[in-house]
Subunit: 174 residues, 2 copies
DNA sequence: AGCACCATCACGCAGCGTCATCGTAA
DNA sequence: ATTACGATGACGCTGCGTGATGGTGC
């Protein structure tokens, strides 16, 4: 064993099997194969028996693909991104194209974060509004009785989501 | 016209057509119908000619569904949430179930926000690393020359994503 | 009678999951 | 020879988009 080098797989040729790629990147076999067919991973060399063998660089690619997917890039977007540099005549041009796309995605991600944060706020407000209900004594004509509940009526405000989930009368659209 | 009441649609019976529902909630006709078939909107009354007519409360429901979908929740998740109250015998029990689910959702949403923020950070770092390249003078043997670029080598660190996108040698998996 | 509106099939799409059946690797 | 691992179809799923074709509302 050459010292100071942890082999990524256990093959001596430094190639990775489909399964190793999958395990090292939180993907599945199916996903790795799908990405290869889709052209996101470069055509793997095959063993004599037909098994895919990926050079180790492809692992970094696969991991990046996973992150870009999580960020909402489509398969096609990603293919474009990965090919951009090779399809532009100069580095300056390629960089501008890539920067634009990243900018656009960043904006979309920020927007998505904002939406999620708003929703989180509404969920919290809903939780607060209904938290008093866990101590509610049984009532004969539940669930209609909640419409006349004094405790709920005394609340400063009932978020729209709570009104809908609790099936209160007059849930007004916002 | 009874005063002080802005009718939601323009029908005098206060019911909303599929199209009105769609327009008032940023959905499409198809989506409204789909949600009804999926049981997210309660079976609409039909006109003599077969057109759906929704009571105005359903609009608040539809809007809530839109928000939950935007946050990434599945149709089934949403159906469960919406039906919870009616399927439990007491308010206290229903409230506990709903609170649990909201708690779980909140946690999931927080987790998603965290992931997206991490990604945003990586996107920004990538943008920064490549932003200098937009001024790169043409070079005869682009794109290979980037591997020996002095400017890139001088950077404190090159994020993995940039290494992959820029096809630099030795992009090591993380 | 005209025009916008709505209904119901029905097919299509991404991005894989999930068998089933079979060949490989060591 | 065993046992885990991988390959190749092929069909399934979600959440709608997108026609086509024909009836409604007013």
């Amino acid at each position: 064993l050459p010292e100071g080098e942890k082999p990524a797989g256990r093959r001596q040729d430094g190639l990775l099997t489909t399964g190793e790629m999958a395990r090292l990147s939180d993907a599945t076999l199916r996903t790795v194969r799908f990405y290869e067919e889709a052209g996101l991973l470069r055509p793997a060399v095959r063993s004599a028996g037909g098994h895919r063998l990926f050079p180790k660089d492809e692992l970094a690619r696969l991991q990046l693909i996973g992150e870009l997917r999580a960020a909402g890039f489509s398969i096609e977007d990603i293919r474009d991104l990965l090919e951009t540099k090779l399809q532009r005549p100069t580095g300056a041009e390629a960089a501008r194209v890539i920067l634009d796309r990243i900018e656009a995605r960043s904006r979309a991600v920020r927007e998505r974060i904002r939406i999620l944060q708003d929703l989180l706020g509404e969920l919290e407000a809903t939780r607060e509004a209904l938290s008093g209900c866990t101590g509610c004594q049984g009532h004969p004509n539940y669930p209609e009785c909640c419409n006349d509940c004094e405790r709920l009526a005394a609340l400063e405000e009932i978020p729209g989501a709570a009104g809908v989930l609790w099936h209160l009368r007059d849930c007004r659209p916002r």
